[in-house]
Subunit: 219 residues, 2 copies
């Protein structure tokens, strides 16, 4: 089983210091919600983000959305060989059942995530998505993998196909992909650093390369 962790993902509710910023207040009002109930989104809260630490990388639920659509619709997931987790910048972990059909529409996805942040589980009956306060380190400990790989521009260069082979040679490998637009992991690096390309790649490209190259070697 391949365990894929989208780590330090830039997904969070609008944080307290900017809840009264006009960009946030207007956005929330248009959506009929309170400022503390809506996801931070760099597309709409750009002006407000400038006032936050790491403002240039925060508010990117779109990255999580695209990574999840790719991972959950992959052949590896349909074959029952993949588990996907989202770890957030605020040390929450989202557990996703493999049969989950993530909304294709971005705005619906945002609504679903807002409901998840509020209720900690959606939908209540099926519990397809569940959120817990948990560090990346605690999540990895819980997965108890027999190999941990951190996808990193400055890691050891490994051809994607060779990386897939290494993953497939393990029983329970974990692959950590940064769920942020650019820059470095902020937390401790918890495994072997791997680079699959000479330049930086989008998070969803790394997700696709990891899963599909793993698939090759799995019977």
């Amino acid at each position: 089983m391949l365990h894929l962790v989208i780590a330090e993902a830039e997904i969070e509710l609008v944080p307290e210091p900017i809840r009264d910023h006009p960009a946030v207040v207007n956005y929330a009002r248009k959506r009929g919600k309170r400022p503390d109930e809506v996801l931070l989104d760099s597309t709409y809260h750009h002006a407000a983000l400038k006032k936050l630490t790491d403002g240039e990388r925060r508010g990117r639920p779109d990255i999580v959305h695209i990574c999840l659509l790719n991972a959950l619709e992959s052949i590896a997931n349909k074959e029952g060989k993949l588990r996907v987790y989202v770890h957030t910048r605020n040390d929450e972990v989202i557990y996703i059942k493999p049969e989950t059909r993530i909304p294709r529409n971005y705005n619906r996805f945002v609504g679903l995530m807002e409901s998840l942040f509020k209720n900690r589980v959606v939908p209540k009956d099926l519990g397809l998505l569940r959120m817990e306060e948990k560090s990346l380190e605690a999540l990895i400990k819980e997965i108890n993998p027999d190999g941990v790989f951190v996808m990193h521009e400055k890691g050891t260069f490994t051809k994607p196909v060779d990386f897939g082979k290494r993953l497939a040679s393990l029983e329970n490998p974990a692959v950590i992909v940064g769920g942020f637009p650019h820059g470095e992991f902020k937390g401790k690096i918890l495994g072997e650093k791997i680079s699959i390309y000479k330049a930086s790649l989008m998070a969803w490209t790394v997700v696709n390369e990891t899963i599909i190259n793993f698939e090759h070697w799995v019977p």
Copy 2:
């Protein structure tokens, strides 16, 4: 060079017969546009779509968006080995320069496409995206590939890795992926039908599998 065609993509402006439907009128008003200027979108125009032929599959710009984000951010594209085209249900072809950075945010992507349908080229100076009236058959003729493959549930089963090898053995293969949510191609099948999995896959999954398995075999 691999030529990837998202074909019969369900992307179009709201068609004439439903421009006065309340679901459309309200949606356009909220966005400050006229009903004939906005993209048909199944998420918002569901009630109106019931009145259209093929209503159950139309209005899916989200599929085009996800396919383009994956294709354009792929390693194959960064290496200059990929060209991506979108052919629409109304026989338009969208040409996309490989260096194009598609908006990550869905709503911005929709705005960009609306501008493309109106102006036929965006942005005007760089011409990163360009739209022409053209059939799929005419596009394939223009590409002049040395192999044409149509990704199809009922095609010859070929393991993704073997399909990638076949693509890489050609100079200019073209791969046609349906840009619709389910069902069959409506037009003529223009090449060899290939199936890479025992069940149906989302368009973007087929895009990812095609590109990444092609990459393996390209030096």
